[in-house]
Amino acid sequence: MAREILPVADRAQVRAYARRLMLKHPGELVLALALHALAAVTGLVTPRLLGELVQDVAGGSAHVRVDVIALAIAGFVAAQAVLTRFAVFASSRLGEKVLAELREDFVDQVLGLPLSTIEGAGSGDLITRTSRDVDALSHTVRRAVPETLIAIVTGSFIVGAVVLVGPVMAVPALIAVPLLWGATRWYLNRARDGYLRENAAYADMTEGLAETVEGSRTIEALGLQRRRHERADRDIARSFAAERYTLGLRLVWFPAVEIGYVIPVVATLLIGGLFYIEGWVSLVQVTTATLYVQQLIDPVDRLLSWVDELQVGGASMARLLGVADVPEDRTPGATRPAGEDLRAVGVRYAYREDRDVLHGVDLEVRRGERLAMVGPSGAGKSTLGRLLAGIHAPRTGSVTVGGVPLVELPIDELRGEVALVTQEHHVFRGTVRENLLIARPEAADADVWRALEAVDAREWVEALGGTLGEGLDTMVGSGGQTVSPAQAQQLALARLVLADPHTLVLDEATSLIDPRAARHLERSLAAVLAGRTVIAIAHRLYTAHDADRVAVVEDGRITELGPHDELVAAGGPYAALWESWHGTAK
């Protein structure tokens, strides 16, 4: 199956969204920025006072004046500390709020994804977005955004302060700008890919170890020890190569930047000093300007080191926003089904262009009928099942219920008509009851137990939670009690019993259950589902034997169709298969 990758938002969309998000809380934003600005201003007073102090000391002023200045320094430090505290708190609070909105929006979008996308794309891409991208964005919003904002605010004030001290003193401070700018641009242009490669290589290495651990018995059985050692060594070599590349980048960027920091300090001191000797500026001006320029290193450094992170966050945001761009896969019509008969006419379907996997299938399923589909793997059974469940629309032909195409029903209505259960099973994190009530939130415990009984699950659910006998209240799913794949399939079926649609498509829905138990389960399920239409795709022939009719699907076509006994009597390929499966004893 072609792996569809979900869309990614473009740069303009990300910018627009970021802007909207920022301006959504103007009051809080202004407050946070104003507090940071005030904190930055108070921080600027200390160097100035220190400059005064140096001047006084050089000029031999009175002790009292020195005491006052020292006290003033302490006072401004205290003010700056208090302001910083509130500024950081205000911006963090805003960040958390925005972050929560972001991820909640995203999950809402995910929950609204079209059925065909979910069935088609595989969950890998979506899982990456939910875990890694949400994490990356959290980091950006919590750290990178406030740090860069603070750096910009503080940095601008310091530059402003230098200009105030003496416009002429600002000139030496600027001489390193081209170096910093150039080196950083050079680095950022290469860093992103370098780090992506580095992380990927590192992940390969740890995944390789995980694989070795999980497959240790297989390794022993097949004598793969050497191969695994080689794989680890190869991964390490790749990781090292990637690490060396980024290290090489840093070995250029770090020294360039550090020298870029020291040059302005020295230049201000030297040029300012020469100006002072010439009598063009005062001692206070030189000392203060030098200390300011030194103070400027911190915000510039922060700015440079977080720019990268902002890029990463932007990329993650683009992937999160992209989910909203998935086009709707169905346009509901106004007509509602008259009747419950399911009919497929001339159905063709292709995952890839020019490669039909179904070649004109006609099928009519009567209300309350049990139809089994059998056939070799890759014949198109599951695809046909998905079309009959209204997940995809056929390329040509139609699949209708009561005369209305399934894909023209709004999703809520479709659920009432037909439901699909596949062999993939998922147990949600929560209690057993919660897992089942998804289908019918208002169901009473008695209904839940009845549904569990119908799938032979009552006994083990009652035993859950050990001696506590928590039963329906037992926590299952990730972090809860372990439920075997077979039991998970039973829960999925019980959910379906509760949902109670009039047509069910079961795609190997009991494949993970022990063959002997499966047979019993299918029979008790059949009793509960009496009157419902059931289309069961099965790889065990007794399912076919127990059905009203059997459809043999081969190579995208229905090659045999009819009641089991008739097919056996007809002596075709199905009959041959049945004979050898069942043996000649009967």
Binding site: L50, R85, S92, S580
Partner: protein, 575 residues
């Protein structure tokens, strides 16, 4: 630095965590020593800046242009030294980190393959995988911090000497003040860590909830319940938000304290220094220098705190690694055999191809035949297969020789147990199928045909060159099973034991596999544990096992006719 990716990691000291860390460090002594050297220079480059700056300011006040140029040059020179030494130190730090991490991955990988089937019995997967996810990082960091830590100690010592020789009193104020200031934020750290931990936990839960939603999205969109889950997610998301705000309230306090405490100290030092300067005890430049020392010393003292933390974490990680490395495989060559093996090449230990017998169940696998084992209880079949392959102890003989008297490596090469727990590994599909690397294209084609797996390869755009993802997860259960069967057939062992090889495929495919299996294993010894009538019908001989023992044997049809227990087991109560 080629040694970083050397093939053989050597034999680690696994007696204890300190021994292990010492073993790691010894393997990279040169890198560590060079790194420490650079770290010392780097720290000193920073430590001396205030002194040079102070002298430059004194020159400035004295209006001494030459001295000003000289000392400004010194500041610049220190900056350059610091940048160059810093880069070299960083390079060594990265190499040390990586070297320690890589060697730990190597020895853990080698240990995992040495343990083989013992590993899942003795360790949880998570325990070993966490080595890769976190322990190697801690061990790497504990090597990295050595460089900066030692450098920091030197830097603190040098600054101390300078300060004391300039002004003993001021020096002592700074020396006492800086550690106090660093320690004073301590009381804030505990609540911060507690709240951070809580936030991380909640965030972890939120991530699990999100993964849960994505994992069950088919169900939610197919049956309903989106609203419930959206609401639940929102509720947990808000909880994370509030936990984040609680972290921020302490964190912002810390941010304030980190300005206030050093600020107050600096104000005090500056005040004292200014008064001393007025009294002529220090110069105006030294006033600026003391300001600079107080600011500078905060960094190396923080580094020492960091070092304590990282070495502790490295120690804990090393203990976990040691635990894993010290486990011994359950099945090993008998001690006397190990002696003989050392003197004698294992070629002699090859019993002629005779019957493989499990005494306990009475199962006898005859050479050159396709035998099937149908067990009334599936667990019996698995237990017997494990004994026959010597994964579990038992009285099993091959041509009369107990397996326990044979070298394990020889038994593994001779008898292959292929069960449904077996993994597919990531890599090029052809390489993953042909594990010996010696099969021809025709062999591969033949094996795929026998396992009915040709359609899987045909559907892949790159065919046999396609990359298999980890555990072959892009394949369905049935596809994986057929690929595993093809792999086992390609391995072509003398004795092949297959456990339920067709449990996940449809009846049509099962019939084809059953038909082709006999031909693929012609003249070879094969045991198939199965209850599928399609497969049983094709076996030369069927053994029916009840209560752990063979209760009947014959062909499928004979047993169907004679044994009612067999009949009900394989036809699943269909009567």
């Amino acid at each position: 630095m080629r040694s970083l990716v050397a093939g053989d990691p050597g034999i680690p000291d696994v007696r204890g965590p300190i021994g292990y860390l010492w073993w790691v460090a010894r393997g990279q002594t040169r890198l560590i020593l060079i790194g420490i050297g650079f770290a010392v220079v780097w720290w000193l480059g920073q430590a001396l800046v205030p002194a040079a700056l102070g002298l430059a300011i004194d020159a400035l006040i004295a209006k001494d242009g030459d001295a000003l140029i000289w000392w400004s040059g010194a500041v610049l020179g220190l900056g350059v030294v610091q940048a160059a030494a810093g880069a070299s130190r960083h390079r060594m730090a990265v190499y040390n980190w990586l070297s320690a991490a890589y060697r730990t991955v190597q020895v853990t990988t080698r240990q995992a393959t040495r343990l083989g089937a013992t590993l899942p019995k003795r360790l949880s997967t998570g325990e070993v995988v966490s080595v890769g996810n976190s322990d190697i990082e801690h061990i790497g960091s504990s090597m990295d911090i050595l460089l900066r830590g030692v450098g920091a100690v030197v830097a603190i010592a040098v600054v101390t000497v300078i300060m004391i020789s300039t002004s003993p009193l001021l020096g002592i104020v700074v020396l006492v003040g800086v550690p106090m200031v660093t320690a004073a934020v301590g009381p804030l750290l505990r609540p911060l860590h507690r709240r951070q931990l809580r936030q991380r936990d909640l965030q972890g839960e939120l991530a699990t909830r999100a993964a849960d939603i994505v994992g069950g999205l088919r169900v939610l969109r197919g049956i309903g319940g989106e609203q419930v889950f959206a609401a639940r997610y929102r509720e947990e998301s808000q909880r994370v938000r509030h936990a984040g705000v609680r972290v921020a309230s302490v964190d912002s306090m810390l941010a304030g304290a980190e300005i206030l405490l050093p600020g107050v100290l600096i104000a005090c030092v500056t005040w004292l220094a200014a008064r001393f300067a007025l009294d002529g005890r220090v110069s105006a430049g030294q006033l600026v220098a003391f300001y600079g020392y107080a600011v500078f010393l905060i960094a190396p003292i923080r580094t020492l705190t960091e070092a304590a933390d990282k070495i502790t974490k490295g120690h804990v990680a090393a203990r976990r690694v040691c635990h894993i490395l010290s486990i011994e495989p359950e099945i090993q060559d008998a001690p006397e055999l190990r002696e003989t093996l050392r003197e004698d090449p294992p070629a002699r230990h090859t019993p002629s191809d005779g019957v493989l017998v499990d005494e306990r169940s009475g199962v006898a696998v005859r050479p050159g035949r396709l035998t099937a084992l149908a067990a009334a209880v599936p667990e019996d079949a698995i237990a017997i297969a494990d004994r026959l392959g010597w994964y579990a102890p038992g009285e099993v003989t091959l041509d009369g020789t107990p397996l326990a008297d044979l070298p394990v490596a020889w038994v593994r090469g001779h008898i292959l147990v292929a069960d449904n727990e077996a993994k597919l590994f990531a890599g090029r599909l052809r390489d993953e199928l042909d594990i010996t690397g010696s099969a021809t294209d025709e062999d591969v084609r033949q094996a795929l045909y026998s396992a009915c797996a040709e359609d899987i390869v045909a559907a892949l755009p790159e065919g046999l060159d396609a990359q298999v993802a980890e555990s072959g997860r892009e394949f369905s259960g049935g596809q994986r099973q057929r690929l595993r069967l093809a792999r086992a057939l390609l391995a072509d062992p003398e004795i092949l034991i297959l456990v339920e090889p067709t449990s996940a495929v449809d009846a049509h495919t099962e019939a084809r596999i059953a038909e082709r299996l006999g031909k693929a294993r012609a003249e070879r010894t094969t045991l198939v544990c199965t209850t599928s009538p399609l497969v049983l019908d094709r076996a030369d001989l069927v053994l029916f096992v009840e209560d752990g023992e063979v209760s009947a044997e014959g062909t499928h049809r004979e047993l169907l006719a004679t044994s009612s227990g067999y009949r009900s087991s394989v036809t699943r109560g269909e009567d």
